[in-house]
């Protein structure tokens, strides 16, 4: 079973795990995800691969302790093992090379930009990351992302560091030529509302925009169809066709609605997990 090698508290509810998983590390590419299950009876949840190290045979994930599984995972310590971990799943990110790429990360989704932006930088793209959070304490992986791209732009709602405002407001300024300037490609990873706002902002400028969808999922191999997303009027399975899609074609209203299908049950399970009901 994959063993946890390192655990870091990034914010009060966000944790980074570096996990010994040589087979997955060897095959992983930016944009892909894994599925984990932490106990017999546990659910299968998808998590984007934040980073991987083929030489060390490790995979890094970042989780927010909100649901039943992430709460249980949060209680795991280095040296402990994860019951089930499978991947890499989904298609790798496919961003045309040679231009200016802006990666936009909101919440813990920003972690998923790490290996992606590093690869784009290494292949010679001009890369910018716009990283946002409510305040400075909640910004994650600032140093790592700074090393992974050419320009790092920080945004906080309260202005405690960097630009005061939302990532979309800063993106708008860049599109108008400020700082590192207008992008040729944008990739947004974060809450659906943020990704939708980014897509709406870039649409009139016809800037190629990619978003990473994170719908409900069971098997992750195309078998259940629970993760279907409407893209340009076509039904796609996020697990095998995605998770990255054209942000201008994704039906976000449907995606948000579908993501709320089990809100009540998720709360029940999360409470139970918090009270130590799953052991």
């Amino acid at each position: 079973m994959p063993k946890i090698l390192e655990k870091r508290q990034l914010t009060p509810i966000t944790q980074l795990f570096r996990i010994d998983a040589p087979m997955i590390a060897a095959a992983a590419q930016p944009g892909q995800f894994i599925i984990i299950r932490v106990r017999d009876g546990g659910e299968r949840i998808p998590l984007t691969i934040a980073d991987y190290d083929r030489d060390a045979g490790t995979v890094t994930i970042v989780v927010q302790e909100v649901g039943a599984t992430t709460r249980q995972l949060g209680a795991h310590e280095p040296g402990e093992e994860i019951l089930d971990m499978v991947g890499p799943l989904g298609e790798p990110a496919d961003i045309p090379s040679g231009g200016h790429v802006i990666g936009i990360g909101g919440g813990f989704g920003a972690a998923a930009l790490l290996c992606l932006m590093r690869e784009l930088t290494n292949r010679g793209d001009n890369t910018t990351v716009i990283l946002g959070a409510r305040n400075q304490e909640l910004l994650i992986l600032v140093d790592e992302l700074r090393a992974a791209c050419r320009n790092l732009e920080l945004c906080t709602d309260d202005g405690s560091v960097g630009f005061k405002g939302f990532v979309t407001q800063r993106l708008e300024q860049l599109i108008e030529g400020d700082g590192p300037g207008k992008p040729d490609h944008v990739i947004a990873i974060g809450p659906p509302v943020m990704m939708r706002a980014v897509a709406e902002l870039t649409r009139p400028h016809e800037i190629d925009t990619h978003v990473s969808m994170d719908p409900l999922m069971v098997d992750g191999t195309g078998m259940c169809g629970g993760c279907r997303v409407s893209v340009g009027g076509e039904v796609k399975f996020a697990c095998v066709d995605g998770p990255i899609f054209d942000g201008h074609a994704v039906d976000f209203n449907e995606a948000v609605r579908r993501s709320k299908m089990y809100v009540k049950e998720e709360e029940i399970a999360a409470c139970r997990a918090k009270e130590g009901g799953y052991v």
């Binding site: 095959a27 039943a68 890499p88 169809g225 997990a273």
Partner: protein, 482 residues
């Protein structure tokens, strides 16, 4: 001497009202006395068509004779010589279309209840395990089996018995494929599946879960880096089809695969003791009329639905579900809407299912499948109020492995192309069988394909033919004599 009784010995089963509310097995199984009584009905034909009717060629007359003589251990050995998964096949095989269809008794009476007896003997064996020690592979050529459904399990079991070291790679966290995620507990208890899989492990088969060949490990890496000599692909037909009608993405619409996987693999019926939920409302419509549709609609009742409906655009004559499953569904109160074609799923302002808009159909001339073509009746639109809609209109082979493997040829339906009877694909020493080749079919056809491919692999690697079923029985007898 065979005893003339015209009817099959009835399979005892649980009361419909009681069983329709839980996931415990419907059939109770024969008692020892039932078994001998039924086996005596076999007239032991010289030309045993039943054996040809069985995709794995179980020597049925000898099997019947052993049961009738009270030699259950002998019967178990005969059964297992031909079929490595008898406890499963005895439960889920469509015997009425295979061995029992061609039973000579069936010309005038009911056929011998071959399926019930298979189930009985396998269960007897499970209750009285023999203490044969685990075997070790002795041949040098390593073989990888991709997928642990019926085709993969049987192929692995056959190769292990021939002495090959076999590793099965499974993408999910538990082995069994469709036997695990698709077939519900009330038809195939998971401890039966676990037991059959444990027997394979005793033969030396290694099972590695959580590895997706094509993603975690590429097919060619199995040859180049991991040293396998031959491969068998049994990845099934796991990709659900949708109708493409408006409203299909509303909340509360599921593929049968998702519906059943949440229940069977993830045990959603135990929520919140387990974490995976499944929302099931008061009225659930299942679209389709195959075995999977019956499994889904009967599961819906067990999940607490007050009404479970089958909605099918053809009539009961064209239904593909087994008669036994259909009868069980009727007994459990499932409603059948034949000649009813769904054209739209309706929802409320929050995006939850509220109804299913349908058209009435009538039957016309036979179509390309040979079944009467359903034709819409104009102006017959009506709405069934509904809380959930489950689509069970078929599955296609999963393209995941093909997409990442150069040189694997498929037909236009996505099935792997193999040479007849041997199962070799367009890639040398890459064999395939089961639903990955044929598209969605039965457990026993997959088992048969796994068995044929194992024989072909053995022949390919050693130049020998595997022992016949008869030689297998003798071999086992001499082993137990030692």
């Amino acid at each position: 001497m065979p005893v003339k009784r015209v009817d099959k010995t009835h399979m005892p089963e649980r009361e419909a009202q009681q069983r329709a509310r839980d996931f415990l097995e419907v059939n109770d199984g024969y008692a020892l006395s039932h078994a001998a009584f039924e086996a005596e009905r076999c007239i032991r034909c010289q030309e045993a068509d039943c054996v040809d009717g069985c995709p794995v060629g179980v020597p049925i007359p000898e099997f019947m004779h052993a049961i009738a003589m009270g030699d259950m251990r002998g019967a178990a050995k005969i059964l297992r010589s031909a079929n490595p998964l008898p406890a499963i096949c005895g439960r889920v095989c469509p015997q009425e279309d295979q061995c029992e269809l061609v039973c000579h008794l069936a010309k005038r009476f009911e056929p011998v209840a071959i399926g019930h007896l298979e189930r009985f003997v396998a269960d007897w064996e499970r209750a009285q395990p023999d203490d044969e020690p685990p075997t070790q592979p002795w041949r040098p050529e390593k073989i990888a089996v991709i997928g642990s459904g019926p085709a993969g399990l049987v192929c692995a079991g056959e190769l292990a018995r021939l002495g090959y070291p076999v590793t099965i790679y499974e993408g999910l966290h538990a082995p069994g494929g469709v036997l695990r995620y698709g077939i519900p507990e009330f038809r195939l208890p998971k401890d039966i599946l676990d037991w059959e899989i444990d027997l394979l492990k005793k033969l030396g088969v290694e099972i590695v879960c959580n590895v997706i060949i094509g993603k975690t490990i590429k097919l060619d890496e199995l040859f180049d880096d991991l040293g396998f000599t031959a491969l068998f692909i049994g990845t099934g037909a796991g990709l659900p089809m949708f109708l493409g009608i408006p409203g299909e993405n509303l909340n509360g619409v599921y593929s049968a695969n998702e519906f059943l996987t949440r229940i069977n693999l993830m045990r959603a019926f135990q929520f919140p003791q387990v974490e995976t939920p499944l929302k099931v409302g008061k009225r659930v419509a299942v679209i389709g009329a195959g075995n999977t549709a019956m499994d889904a609609v009967r599961s819906a009742l067990r999940m607490g639905a007050e009404e479970g409906l089958i909605v099918y655009r053809r009539s009961d004559k064209e239904m593909t579900a087994r008669v036994e499953e259909y009868h069980h569904a009727i007994e459990e109160g499932v409603q059948f809407h034949w000649l009813t074609n769904p054209i739209e799923v309706l929802g409320d302002e929050d995006g939850w299912v509220t109804g299913l808009k349908c058209l009435k159909m009538e039957l016309g001339e036979p179509d390309e499948s040979g079944r009467a073509r359903p034709i819409p009746i104009e102006g017959s639109e009506f709405v069934l109020p509904m809380d959930n809609v489950v689509l069970s209109i078929g599955t296609t082979p999963n393209p995941l492995l093909v997409k990442t493997t150069p040189g694997l040829e498929t037909n236009r339906k996505g099935g792997l192309i193999v040479d007849d009877g041997r199962g070799e694909t367009s890639r040398r020493r890459v064999y395939a069988g089961g639903d990955a080749v044929t598209g969605a079919a039965t457990v026993i056809l997959a088992a048969g394909a796994g068995k044929d491919a194992a024989a072909a692999i053995h022949n390919d690697l050693s130049g020998e033919d595997p022992p016949s079923n008869e030689e297998n029985i003798l071999g086992q007898a001499s082993q137990s004599a030692n």
